[in-house]
């Protein structure tokens, strides 16, 4: 209801008269709509329905920790100097006084000790990076085990796996930026992994590092990759990820009133917006608490990495790189040499081939599954994991494999903690990496079947036998009487109804002014 009234309303009554019942707000909507045409689409957006299941919020943890990464990261960029120029430190931390270090390290130490709230921002940044990747993994697990990756969402799944890879890469590069002793060791290992690639390895390594190790350029390159290149790609893919979600709408579990053709839940405005914004604040607050209470990456205790002949023991990469480090530790030393060349399998396989296989399996899974199940239909309703025992078992087995490798990256710490020989610990993991996925996969499969309540009396309560003895000494066993809960009817799994009628709901009439009970907590609306 746009108006060509040129006099600007001055009071609320005038506004209401000019633009209808909603006064100034209507005026604003009209102005925007004149220019952008957003009234109809905007209302659709506000009415958008979000299903309520708790597991649908896991992706939000990732999203909001990424927001915190961006915010704290901007702060850090204002102080960090990405340079390998060697300087002499004269600052607040005494054991480094007079020590030669790179400007990258010096700026990080200064940020930690001399910049107000600098250490808090650094720690929040690091904690939220760990949480970001962990929540992506948990979210990915939810998508996988409920089958949300199926048509039409294969592309979103692909984008998600790409986001995971980029996040892991950016995390590794990020914690290498301070150029301390511990992360410097990680950079050395990265160089050697590049070297191990046949044919092109030494070229790639020399090009990325600008020469032989260590070179004097890698920190600057890492910096630009970390703050510009990868975040831009992540932001773009994240936008596509969310855009696809809006376009294709969210999946939902089967249940009352839910079908393949609708979405049941809470509306975007105001309910979902309140919950999700509140959740964002809680995530920020939680990371703030972690950033203040738990120290992470105290680089001043590690010293600078100006000398590549120094090293510390008990050095592990951050948790999300752990599966690679564990694979490198347990791999036997099979290096192939011949005809003037060397192929170091003990590096190339665990660090390049294996993650390549793993992530390609992830990328290919939706297509593999639809091929094996011969299911090419559209799916907007989710599976319960127990209803797909094979998929759930396969996913659990892969998780067990990756988790075993992750645990294997701390062989020395575990051996120290449990007072076990280091050699024994390593052999334990070499065997566990094969045994654990098999056991976990099989057990998961059986548990799914059990939970389905399918066949062979699984999951059903057994009828007790009453044993009695006759006077002549003979024993007889008779099934006991049926107790509540016994029997098939109670425990048979019923197919989840796909369409259910909702009872109509009575509504009070418009403006009838139903007297509403104040004690029941509803207030009267005044018009």
């Amino acid at each position: 209801m746009s108006t060509t009234d040129t006099t600007r309303p001055r009071t609320r009554r005038e506004a209401r008269e000019a633009h209808g019942r909603y006064g100034r707000v209507q005026q604003a909507v009209n102005e925007l709509d004149d220019r952008l045409g957003v009234a109809k689409g905007g209302r659709t957006f506000l009415d958008k329905i979000f299903p309520d299941h708790w597991s649908f919020m896991l992706g939000e943890i990732a999203l909001y920790s990424f927001v915190i990464l961006l915010a704290t990261g901007v702060f850090l960029t204002l102080y960090y100097v990405p340079s390998q120029t060697v300087v002499v430190y004269h600052g607040a931390y005494r054991p480094l006084d007079g020590i030669h270090m790179t400007q990258a390290y010096q700026s990080t130490v200064n940020l930690s000790f001399s910049v107000r709230s600098g250490l808090l921002m650094r720690q929040m940044h690091h904690w939220s990076a760990d949480i970001f990747i962990a929540s992506i993994v948990v979210h990915m697990a939810r998508i996988f085990f409920t089958g949300a990756f199926r048509k039409p969402r294969e592309l979103n799944w692909t984008i998600g796996i790409t986001l995971l890879i980029l996040a892991i890469l950016n995390g590794f590069i990020g914690y290498s930026l301070p150029d301390d002793l511990v992360s410097g060791t990680g950079i050395r290992i990265a160089y050697s992994i590049l070297l191990s690639i046949p044919f092109v390895g030494s070229y790639l390594a020399f090009w990325l590092f600008g020469g032989n190790y260590p070179g004097d350029i890698i920190i600057e390159r890492f910096y630009i990759i970390h703050v510009l290149i990868i975040p831009l790609v992540i932001l773009g893919l994240l936008g596509a990820h969310l855009g696809l979600l809006v376009r294709q709408k969210h999946t939902q579990f089967p249940g009352k009133g839910r079908t393949e053709k609708n979405v049941v839940g809470t509306p975007m405005f105001p309910t979902f917006m309140a919950k999700t914004t509140g959740f964002m604040l809680m995530v920020a607050g939680g990371i703030g608490l972690l950033g203040g209470l738990a120290q992470i990456n105290p680089i001043w205790q590690f010293g600078p990495y100006t000398d590549a002949s120094k090293i510390s023991y008990a050095v592990q990469p951050d948790w999300y790189m752990g599966f690679l480090d564990g694979a490198l530790r347990i791999m036997p030393s099979w290096e192939w040499t011949g005809w003037g060349h060397t192929l170091p399998w003990e590096v190339f396989f665990p660090a390049v081939i294996f993650p390549g296989l793993l992530f390609n399996l992830c990328f290919a899974w939706p297509f593999l599954e639809s091929k094996f199940t011969k299911d090419t239909g559209l799916h907007n309703l989710l599976d319960r994991p127990r209803d797909r025992p094979k998929r759930t078992a396969a996913g659990a087995a892969v998780f067990a494999l990756v988790f075993t490798l992750f645990a294997a990256s701390s062989t020395d710490v575990l051996a120290n903690f449990f007072h076990v020989s280091l050699n024994v610990t390593l052999w334990f993991f070499r065997i566990a990496v094969f045994v654990a996925p098999v056991i976990v996969g099989f057990a998961t499969w059986r548990i799914c079947l059990e939970m389905q309540g399918g066949g062979h009396g699984m999951g059903k309560r057994k009828r007790a036998l009453v044993v009695s003895r006759t006077e002549s000494g003979e024993y007889t066993a008779v099934a006991s009487e049926q107790r509540p809960g016994d029997g098939h009817h109670e425990l048979d799994a019923e197919p989840v109804p796909r369409t259910v009628e909702l009872e109509p709901v009575a509504v009070g009439g418009p403006r009838t002014g139903t007297t509403l009970d104040a004690d029941a907590g509803v207030r009267r609306v005044n018009r």
Partner: protein, 397 residues
Amino acid sequence: MIRGLFGNRYVRSVAVLATVGLSGLLGLTAGAGAQTTTTTAPSMSSLNGAGATSSTGATTGSATGSTATGSSGTSTTTTTTGTTTATPTLTTAGSTATATTATSPTAAATSTISASGGLGSRFGLSTVLACKRDIEAISFPGGANAGSPKGSNFHLCVGGQLRAYGNGHSAASSAILYHLPPPSVIPTGKKLFEQTCSSCHGREAEGSNAAPPLKGVGPATVDFWVTTGRMPAATPLQEQADRKPARYDKQQAQAIAAFINSLDPAAPYIPKVNMQGANVATGADLFALNCAACHTITGAGDELAYGTFAPSLHVATARQIAEAIRTGPGNMPWFTGNLNDDQVRNIVAYVTQYIQHPDNPGGAGLGGIGPVTEGFVALLFGVGGFMLICFWIGDRA
């Protein structure tokens, strides 16, 4: 009533403003009370070598007189016999005795032993010659200040026996003063040794198939193993002995050390680290190059090959650290000529100050082993906590 209160918009505003103001004040006062201060080292006076270190040797027994006339000032030696505790005070040339700490319950007598540089005393040529033989006999190569008498500038001879040496020009200027307990404690040490150690190490310390021979290991080695409690061993055939509460105190350990040394004199002697003038930055640098590869950069310790391990450094005393560096116990390398006394002193200063009292301004230290515990916290408390919140917010199926 609450409804009425909250219903009134003026009350609401006042409540909010009051809360903002009060909490702002609270934050101001809390912040004022816990400001970020620049890092300062623990008070140096407690670590000052001149007379008040933890490694102050309390020796029992007599100090037979030897007076050295220094180039300036006078010095006196109190000769006492019998069991008195005397704390050798290390004074710089020209100053008189300073206060000593009494380190044992028996009567404390103050004796000052001050000596200038140079070999032995000017008491008599035969004393000097005997001492020189001593130095030659027990020295090992290592170049300057390697924990060996031969490379040291300062020597103290008493009764023809080398009793202390260091790299400085006087006792007080030596970064580390290596000293030997007086001979009077040897009978005590012999008794203790026979009681406890000889069952594995043999009555003449010749060793057995359960324990290595101890002849020629030197006093510092014995003092280290006994004061850290590793000896007597809980399980003699264990791959590597664990640190545990020491059974013998400092005097007893030194008595045993003196006895072992009497069987076959050897170096290094028991070190006493002088923290004055220590450079913790150099110490940190040396620690990273030489020590962190086994003990980790935060000194947390870790498991090594075949059941051996590098222990945590958090409870070692300055003396024990110097002893370990200079004697290479167990699988630890033996650092001699590759680290001089100044460097060892700097490492000890760094370990006792910053490894044992790390700067953790960021919060809980989480064990100082890095991403293992950090990942655990991030996954369990971070994502786990947030998942619990999701569980609260959302529906259950």
